[in-house]
């Protein structure tokens, strides 16, 4: 039982961590928390199933196409729901616009794809039992993403520009950085990361239109716990959440485990509204 808890817990945890990173990537350049993060994960599963099972495309074609399509959805989100409300960020209109876009994505999927969970194909055909690929693929995807992002942010000029915009938007613009294009870029990147989460976790989550809100919530918890914009916090928080949730799942049963997760989340959040690894205070007057 311990092995299954560890296997599923780490797998789900990695998916949550990736969704958390999706939130963070969008937040970094726009200061916007977007409800579309979970929907991008859902789309990863649906696109994967559509391309590989319905259209019969091989993995090497299907994965890039999925990431590309989701990146496009990310860019559209930026244009429709983020850019128009950035000017009045303090009114928090983005909560409403991104919620609207998230629902549009979800309902379009429900109408076009169907409301029943559809199967997701085996990707590599490796491993059995607790070493089944469905358990370790999300962990690998998460590790690759973190490694890639670290490389991007620390070693490349583009990554430095991203960080500059995230640190201080105005100063970055004053330096002549193409702030708007970088924002579009970060939304595309977030789209790909979110879809990767859904794709890698597809065999666990299936291609199901209603996965969005679930991933939204469970992906948000690591962000809230780890502190906004803190990717390492999101990974630690995500894995911890996955393990806690699966442990509760195996011991007290599914429904009460979600109640337990929710209760714990609220308590931690009320005790430390800035997250466990983050700390900021802003001037109000």
């Amino acid at each position: 039982m311990l092995a299954s808890i560890l296997a599923t817990g780490l797998a789900m945890g990695a998916v949550y961590a990736l969704i958390g990173i999706t939130y963070n990537t969008m937040f970094a350049t726009s200061r916007v928390m977007s409800f579309t993060a979970g929907q991008l994960g859902m789309l990863g599963g649906v696109f994967g199933s559509l391309l590989m099972l319905r259209w019969g495309l091989p993995l090497v074609v299907a994965l890039p196409l999925t990431l590309l399509a989701a990146a496009l959805v990310g860019v559209v989100t930026e244009f429709v729901a983020v850019r128009p409300v950035l000017r009045s960020l303090e009114q928090h209109l983005y909560v409403l616009t991104t919620l609207a876009v998230a629902l549009i994505i979800q309902q379009t999927t429900a109408i076009e794809w169907g409301t029943e969970p559809a199967p997701f194909p085996r990707l590599l055909g490796l491993g059995e039992g607790v070493w089944h690929e469905k358990y370790w693929l999300p962990v690998v995807a998460c590790a690759i993403t973190i490694g890639g992002l670290e490389y991007l942010y620390r070693r490349t000029l583009l990554g430095h520009a991203f960080i500059a915009v995230a640190e201080d938007n105005y100063a970055a613009r004053a330096l002549g950085l193409p702030e708007r294009n970088l924002r579009i870029g970060s939304y595309a990147l977030a789209g790909a990361i979110g879809a990767l989460a859904g794709f890698a976790g597809g065999q666990l989550l299936l291609a199901f239109f209603a996965n969005g809100p679930l991933l939204n919530f469970y992906g948000f918890i690591p962000v809230a716990l780890g502190g906004l914009g803190n990717n390492r916090g999101a990974v630690i928080g995500g894995l911890a959440l996955g393990l806690f949730q699966q442990a509760a799942n195996f011991t007290v049963g599914g429904i009460f485990s979600s109640v337990a997760v929710f209760t714990l989340f609220i308590i931690v959040l009320l005790a430390a509204p800035q997250g466990l690894f983050g700390a900021t205070a802003s001037r109000r007057v």
Binding site: A81, L99, F217, S258, F262, L269
Partner: protein, 604 residues
């Protein structure tokens, strides 16, 4: 010009109706029209319409409460279907006698209201600590949890199989009878929510939404106020749930979809923030929409989502803004700010001299930056005290310490012998300390009069419950606040603009609106943060006169300003700050001659 205005004030009948714009846009007439239509509905004889209209009435019972949270207070509670679910199950379970002995349906409904009120408070409390998106997320999470509990707790809720709804006895046991029952609840909900909306509590909620810092300065306690509203909205939602269960006759967890939550939430936004009529029309519209266009039923969530996006981006004011006739009324041409000291006397009276306000050894640093470095300052009643100094010398920081926004690391602050709590801005209004802000903190969507009335929030005596029922004490409060606000507006010279939305005023006028709002407290001390910034020379002269008049009525004024002329013209005492320390102080003439002051600040 002045005499014409007096004539209008003396003859209330001569004042055009638009002049006194209540919070219910357009007054009571639209509500009565809607009610007449609703009462006449059975004449159609079509029971299908009874079902739709009953549903709309039930939804409105919930939305009326939710509107105060979302539309007035601006808290994005998205998952309110959770409280509907809770109310429906509580009523059904109690009426069926699953847990306790069987209860009559109306008693069960009352119990559900109590349970809903507590749950509303519990769900709402995170709003006090969490940021917008976080709060939206927790309400969503709560909505999921409630449904899952309903599914899992089989012996009580019947799990996925469900449970019978409460059976309401005659005369409510047929379609039209039940419709009238729900309509009755809807009318009560409208009255209660409408009364809260137009009371000082409703204005305070809007202040929390649009000008939270100013709300604190006016003494509005966000936790207490939001707690009242959460209790009220939770109870209303649970009652709606009980009625919903009665309408359904049989409920399962699937009946409470997220789509319903969305309908409630969007009804408020379509209706328009800070309005009661708008969200009422929004609720009716959204309930009717899928019925009118039957093929749309499957698409309704998508439709709601598109509407939400369209409203936020294109019509942020919602229905309320479209039907608000006064919105496009023209502002008086070539208007000027003409303060009238006579009104000041009527408003302030001659206040008993307050004890001096003393700052001793205040030190405050932000990280490594020493903003104030051991400051002593004494404000006296009836004196204008000028605080000047170069940028970054700690003037505004000092003002923020006095008004409780900053908590210094060292030092003490006392009014006479009584120490003032540091870092508690909402406690200052009660002690008669009022302030204005460098950038005016005004509610753009409210009228000038309502903005000023917010300043007097702590002077109200009626409780939230009294306001809800509009009892005599509430009516007296309201009349007095309005009369005071009109006096304050006369005093600063803006009474002609009382009925206009504040976001249509010029910057200089907003500065005077802020002073009028501060005067509502009849302050012992008035702290002005650069009130002359952006004013014309003539306006600065009038401002100076106004400040002098205010201090002549016994109020101590602390004036933070860059206009040295104004300072030396009207201040009885001047303190010059540099690098967080007192560089010089004394009478204006002494300070003006001070060598260091000249070199550091005034220039040769």
């Amino acid at each position: 010009m002045a005499s014409a205005d007096h004539g209008a004030a003396a003859m209330p009948g001569a004042v055009p109706a638009t002049r006194r714009k209540p919070l219910l846009p357009g007054g009571l007439l639209p509500f009565l029209l809607l009610l007449a239509l609703a009462i006449a509905l059975p004449l159609t004889g079509n029971e299908y319409w009874a079902l739709i209209a009953t549903r709309a009435a039930i939804y409105w019972v919930l939305v009326a409460g939710l509107n105060l949270i979302v539309g007035f207070a601006g808290q994005l509670a998205i998952g309110y279907v959770a409280l509907l679910t809770l109310g429906a199950y509580t009523t059904s379970v109690l009426a069926a006698g699953n847990v306790l002995p069987e209860m009559p349906p109306f008693l069960a409904l009352a119990c559900a209201a109590a349970v809903g009120a507590v749950a509303g408070l519990v769900v709402g409390l995170p709003a006090l600590r969490l940021r917008t998106f976080y709060f939206a997320m927790t309400t969503l999470g709560f909505a999921t949890i409630v449904t899952q509990v309903a599914l899992a707790w089989q012996e009580v809720t019947g799990g996925g199989i469900g449970i019978s709804g409460p059976y309401f006895p005659a005369p409510f046991d047929n379609a039209w009878g039940f419709y009238y029952l729900c309509l009755g609840f809807a009318v009560i909900a409208t009255l209660l929510a409408g009364n809260v909306g137009r009371s000082r509590f409703g204005r305070a909620l809007i202040a929390i939404r649009d000008a939270e810092v100013a709300a604190e300065a006016a003494g509005i306690s966000k936790p207490a106020l939001l707690a009242c509203v959460f209790l009220f909205a939770g109870a209303m939602a649970a009652v709606a749930g009980g009625l919903f269960a009665g309408l359904q006759t049989y409920i399962t967890p699937e009946a409470f979809t997220f789509e319903l939550s969305l309908l409630f939430f969007i009804a408020v936004l379509i209706g328009g923030r800070g309005s009661v009529l708008g969200p009422l029309l929004g609720t009716v519209l959204l309930t009717l929409l899928p019925e009118i266009a039957a093929p749309l039923a499957a698409w309704s969530t998508l439709l709601y989502a598109v509407m939400l996006l369209a409203i936020v981006l294109a019509v942020p004011g919602g229905i309320a803004a479209l039907i608000d006739m006064g919105r496009r009324r023209r502002l008086p041409a070539d208007r000027a700010i003409l303060p009238r000291p006579a009104a000041l006397g009527a408003l302030l009276g001659q206040r008993p001299a307050a004890p001096p306000l003393r700052l001793r050894g205040i030190a405050l640093h932000f990280g490594g930056l020493r903003a104030i470095d051991g400051l002593d300052l004494v404000l006296r009643p009836g004196e204008v005290h000028g605080l000047i100094g170069p940028n970054g010398s700690g003037k505004t920081t000092t003002l923020n310490v006095i008004s409780g926004y900053y908590q210094p690391q060292q030092g003490s602050l006392a009014l006479g012998e009584a120490p003032l709590a540091m870092g508690r801005p909402e406690s200052r209004a009660g002690q008669g300390i009022a302030r204005t802000f460098q950038t005016p903190r005004i509610i753009g969507e409210a009228t000038v009069l309502q903005n000023v009335m917010i300043g007097g929030t702590v002077a109200g005596h009626a409780t939230f419950a009294e306001a809800m029922l509009w009892l005599p004490r509430q009516a007296a409060d309201e009349a007095r606040l309005e009369a005071d606000a009109r006096l304050a507006l006369q005093a600063v010279g803006l009474e002609a603009l009382a009925g206009f939305r504040a976001d249509r005023l010029q910057h200089s006028e907003l500065r005077f609106v802020e002073i009028a709002r501060a005067l509502m407290l009849r302050p012992a001390y008035l702290l002005l943060d650069e009130p002359a910034a952006g004013l014309s020379a003539e306006e600065i002269r009038r401002l100076g006169q106004l400040i002098r008049e205010i201090s002549a009525h016994g109020t101590g004024v602390l004036l933070v300003e860059h206009h040295a002329d104004l300072i030396f013209d009207i201040c009885g005492h001047v303190t010059v700050l540099n690098l967080g320390r007192v560089l010089a102080e004394g009478r204006p003439a002494e300070v003006r001659a001070h060598k260091e002051v000249i070199s550091a600040y005034l220039g040769a």
